[in-house]
Symmetry: C2
Subunit: 359 residues, 2 copies
Amino acid sequence: MISQEKNPGNAAAPVVHARAGRAHPVTLREVAELAGVSTATVSLVINKKKNARIADETRQRVTEAIAQLGYRPNAMAKTLVSGTSKFIGLVADGVATTPFAGQIIHGAQDEAWKHGYALLIANTEGNQDLEKDAIAMMLEYKVRGILYSTWFHRPTGIPDTLREADFVLVNCFSPDAGAARAVVPDEAQGGQSATQILLRSGHRRIAFINTTTPAPAKDGRLQGYKDALEDAGIPFDPDLVLEAYPDQEGGYGATDDLLQLGVSAVYCYNDRMAMGLYDGLRENGLSIPEDIAVVGFDNQEVIAAHLRPPLSTVSLPHYELGAAGVRMLLGLDAAPLESAVKIACPAVERDSVAAHSPA
Amino acid sequence: MISQEKNPGNAAAPVVHARAGRAHPVTLREVAELAGVSTATVSLVINKKKNARIADETRQRVTEAIAQLGYRPNAMAKTLVSGTSKFIGLVADGVATTPFAGQIIHGAQDEAWKHGYALLIANTEGNQDLEKDAIAMMLEYKVRGILYSTWFHRPTGIPDTLREADFVLVNCFSPDAGAARAVVPDEAQGGQSATQILLRSGHRRIAFINTTTPAPAKDGRLQGYKDALEDAGIPFDPDLVLEAYPDQEGGYGATDDLLQLGVSAVYCYNDRMAMGLYDGLRENGLSIPEDIAVVGFDNQEVIAAHLRPPLSTVSLPHYELGAAGVRMLLGLDAAPLESAVKIACPAVERDSVAAHSPA
DNA sequence: CTGAAAGCGCTTACAG
DNA sequence: CTGAAAGCGCTTACAG
């Protein structure tokens, strides 16, 4: 309980440093001295070595000394000896940009923690120099591996230095087959699930408002739509596929074209589009889901859960992406080099589609 | 350029490990040997020591050796010697829960990086044990200090172990005055700014829909409303203050009561409420801002920027909170123990308030 | 069952 | 201008 305060006699002096105590943190050696054993013995009891046979009495003394001194092992020294740290690096090209990028971090952090690893993060905002520095930093801290992630699903190049570490691409993939382990959302399955929500509700004539921006999501979500129709024995009609910019304005602006189509249901590329469409539909005196059923994609919580009516959609599994990335890195999950692992986008049904409207 | 591949002769074997190369990473000693100097010299040139006078020719040889071997300093060893690492810890009680919690991380990360620090994050989801473990981990990695943050502005207790480090509370504060450095959003100023947007537009009778949930934000945002009215010489009328649950449903549900008030403008506790109110107002055939002007609070991007009309609001400065926390921790910004530092909530004007409606 | 010693990869006085 | 040596705090064979 020895805690050397700076100004023991001067209680009135403002405590400038909130730091508790000693200039020099307590070391293994000090614990050993207090317990009257060697540092080796202390190390052994701390690390609970199986085959180390330590007398209970000795172990006891050591444990007490540790508690009494408030000893904390120096992880740096530990790592120096072992050669590899308990860090996993996560480089992201934008936590800023999107509300759910944070979920990748969250999933990675939880999973890493579960296996005794801490997350070292760096946000590069897409800046190549920053990225290089970030990777260098992680390499210097001898991370166990690096998760290289993007805020939206896309192909990516692989920085040279990244190859100096074990790494997994998260939410992105290398266009060069076999070049890297990667985990991405299963856009096609998601699109299929979204369409099926509508199909199950009895709709046969379903429009799809796709994005105008090229991306794996654009192709995948369309493919899923086609797959679902095919499964249901409904011929694909290209006229039912519209395109708009993937935000509220885009969805709103697509309203008129959509109404020309004479469909009873529409699947939107994302929730934001659906949000805009809600406004457009409402302005036309149409109600959801009675007059027209709507499903989105992304499950962007703030929007989807609170639109009126709450939006049925499909969830982009960011949390799972981060977690799976960690498991693949640690060799806990299979991680083929040939192709990216796909994570399911589960359907989230709410009230924008009637339970059964034999439209 | 010596890179010892695992199976040099067996090109057909699948490359299981994407890791480039050597089992043993190259060390300072190897660089020294290749350059024909001592390790001390190499260390000196790497760290660009001012007073170290090294012959240009020697420096040159060392630099080449480093490049040739692809040497990366071992940060662990470095830290061991210096005693304190280049880490700043960030413990958060929920990255998950809210879309903007990620901004605290983002701001902290950017600022930390700017000063040569890396961010070590841990998400505790409010779990005390996890929290203790997270702090212990950070302490063991000898972090320079810890940012203890909450996903919404609130009073907080301070875990004992946190006091073993330098720390700053971010988005939260200790109810015990003088107990800790802290940085929080300036709710009162924000509420004042929100109200002033309306005042400047000519409104005199302004309702405030506050939250039902007790929080510093509840008191502060109300105080700001009162302050703004007082500055404008308008007596505060308690009847104009409604309360509702702080989400879309709450805002929607408050519509009728609001309409009883006969106001020309309304300031909502947050953007989500405003979003619900938009729907309620629209259902009553009212248009924004012509019939009634609306301002929100939070500047929750996905919502505020894309409602129709786009919502005027006040920004919760999460990014700045994270950045300021780092600066306070590093002693770059003043950080009084007596009271929390307040960060301004800047107004973000969009189209839900007319430029000039002499209502 | 426990201790003495070497070593992980660096940096920092101290000589020269 | 540069090298030899000690030491940061730990762990790991190796003795005993």
